[in-house]
Amino acid sequence: MPAKASARTLAAGSSSNDAQANLFSSTLNVVLTILCALLFAFIVPPLVKFLFIDAVWDGASRADCLVHAGHPEMGACWAFVIDRINFFTYGFYPIDGRWRVDVFFALLAFGVGWMAWLQAPRRDLGVIYFFVLMPVASIVLLLGWPAIGLTRVPTTQWGGILVTIVVAAVGIVASLPIGIMLALGRRSRLPAVRLFSVIFIEVVRGVPLITVLFMASVMLPLFVPESLSPDKLLRALIGVALFSSAYMAEVVRAGLQAIPKGQFEAAMAVGLRYRQAMRFVVLPQALTITIPNIVNTTIGLFKDTTLVFVVGIFDLLKTIESARVDPNWATPVTSTTGYAFAAMFYLVFCYGMSRYARMVEKRLATGNGR
């Protein structure tokens, strides 16, 4: 069986003998190997040629990327991306306030690192930082607070990677606690709580994200007076947060179901209350085994954030969309280069998360790594 054979190859980190045995072991295998090699040869060299060999790295305008005497073949116009990188990162965020965005990125990276490193010291404090301190600090920092000398920056000026990260981060930071509540609610003994959780989860999961976003940005203003209607970005954030919570709830529920009933009973028997039993006994175990699935959900959410551009929010993709039609950079390769940049951005983040999930999975498989 070729699939099995190649899986074994990957696992073993094969020598050339193994490779020969696995790649050419049967007629079918030989055919598949040759087909894959052809496909590879067909795609990779032109891609490398376009993205790197013929690429233009510095320049000030479209002229540098077009075909001219010293540049016979057209390649990716990285000069365009480099020229507009600040726009892609900050959108219309005022230039003198962009350090605030950088600090936000740093705060977030610190929090993610603290949460992701399973043996980190004081992870209990990390949780408080990640779910309370950091969100509050980020809101103050990004939105501004004139009283402490930070000028107000309305969300209409936010854009690019900043918005993409904000939407993803809010989705993740909000969806975990809400998702845990919903998952517990779904198993609750109180019928009202259980009914609410089930209806919420099933309705949200039965509706595409794009519909939720349209509802939030188009329908909501119809029912709520303009003065009360919240900010456009905030509405999208709430939509994304609710949407991802429903998915997270199902992921967490799977984890809760994997914990034997005896754990909860033992916690009850030593006198712990329901909340203490959940907090100290059931959830720590359920969430640990759920980490790979949480990360997978997060990967999906991260890519889904691009949908906010349909309701007119300037995320990374939208900034690229608007920059690629700039006459100053109008070349046949500008759009391609812009999209290639977006693809790489998402690839780097999603691949990183996926590697992390794999690592945790391996650790769990080897008996909690203790």
């Binding site: 034997p260 005896g262 754990q263 009973e265 033992a266 916690a267 009850m268 028997a269 030593v270 006198g271 712990l272 209350r273 203490q276 100290f280 006994v281 720590p284 175990q285 640990t288 008996g367 909690n368 203790r370």
Partner: protein
């Protein structure tokens, strides 16, 4: 009272004063859906008594002792534990659970916590003891079950017998007045049964009130003040171990004993 029916024979001084009663079950019934799992259970346990409960599987033994700390809810009758009647009142349930320790067939230790953390979790959060004091008490009980050197390990690193002794120590850390044992040795490899039984015998000698669901008949003969035999959700026979083993009064008891004592 109807309860007298299942009480001890005259030679076994029954509990006279209310304060001597650890557990009083009066006309208890329980159903799992349609299935009538407990039928008119009447049992009064005096303080310091050691009751060993046996009977065929599915006879309701585990369900009965699980009703005592409200892991199962009874639907009819009264259960009074150390003067507190179990009802829907959450405060009373908490009160009872603080005073009743339980040891399970499958240990149910918390695998993500060290042995020491398993022992100190409830004293710290339920009894509100300072961490240091809780840890000292935990070490004391680990000494008592003879595994103080395992304090820093995780349950998964211990043998079954050691895990069950940790589970006993975990229950003792709450200073319970009553201990419930739900088939504590059934999940153990044979060579580990003795170490757990020895721990329980020691506990019995210290005067703990114990209810033990077990088929370890040698152990029962040694420590039981009374034997209880259950079948089909009913208490069939209550007797001193001597009479129970040598001269059982009921046909069903005789049959059961002949099956397990070969």
């Amino acid at each position: 009272m109807a309860t007298e029916r299942n009480l001890a024979p005259a030679d076994l001084k029954p509990a006279q004063l209310k304060t001597d009663v650890a557990i009083d079950m009066i006309g208890v019934h329980k159903w799992f859906g349609e299935f009538h799992v407990l039928r008119d259970i009447n049992l009064r346990v005096a303080k310091g008594e050691r009751i060993v409960i046996c009977g065929p599987s599915g006879s309701g033994k585990s369900t009965m002792i699980r009703c005592i700390n409200r892991l199962e809810e009874h639907q009819q009758g009264r259960i009074v534990v150390d003067g507190v009647e179990l009802s829907g009142d959450v405060k009373k349930i908490d009160e009872v659970r603080r005073d009743v320790g339980m040891v399970f067939q499958h240990f149910n230790l918390f695998p993500h916590l060290t042995v020491l953390e398993n022992l100190t979790l409830a004293p710290i959060w339920v009894r509100k003891q300072p961490k240091k004091q809780a840890e000292e008490a935990a070490m004391h009980y680990l000494q008592r079950v003879k595994i103080p050197e395992q304090a820093g390990k995780y349950p998964g690193q211990l043998s079954g017998g050691q895990q069950q002794r940790v589970a006993i120590a975990r229950a003792l850390c709450m200073n319970p007045k009553i201990m419930l044992f739900d088939e504590p040795t059934s999940a153990l490899d044979p060579e580990m049964v003795k170490e757990v039984l020895d721990t329980m015998i020691q506990l019995a000698e210290d005067g703990m009130t114990m209810l033990v669901v077990s088929h370890e008949m040698g152990f029962a003969r040694q420590i039981a003040s009374r034997m209880v035999f259950m079948d089909e959700g009913q208490i069939v026979e209550v007797n001193t171990p001597k009479v129970f083993f040598d001269n059982p009064q009921h046909e069903r008891t005789k049959l059961f004993l002949s099956q397990i004592l070969h």
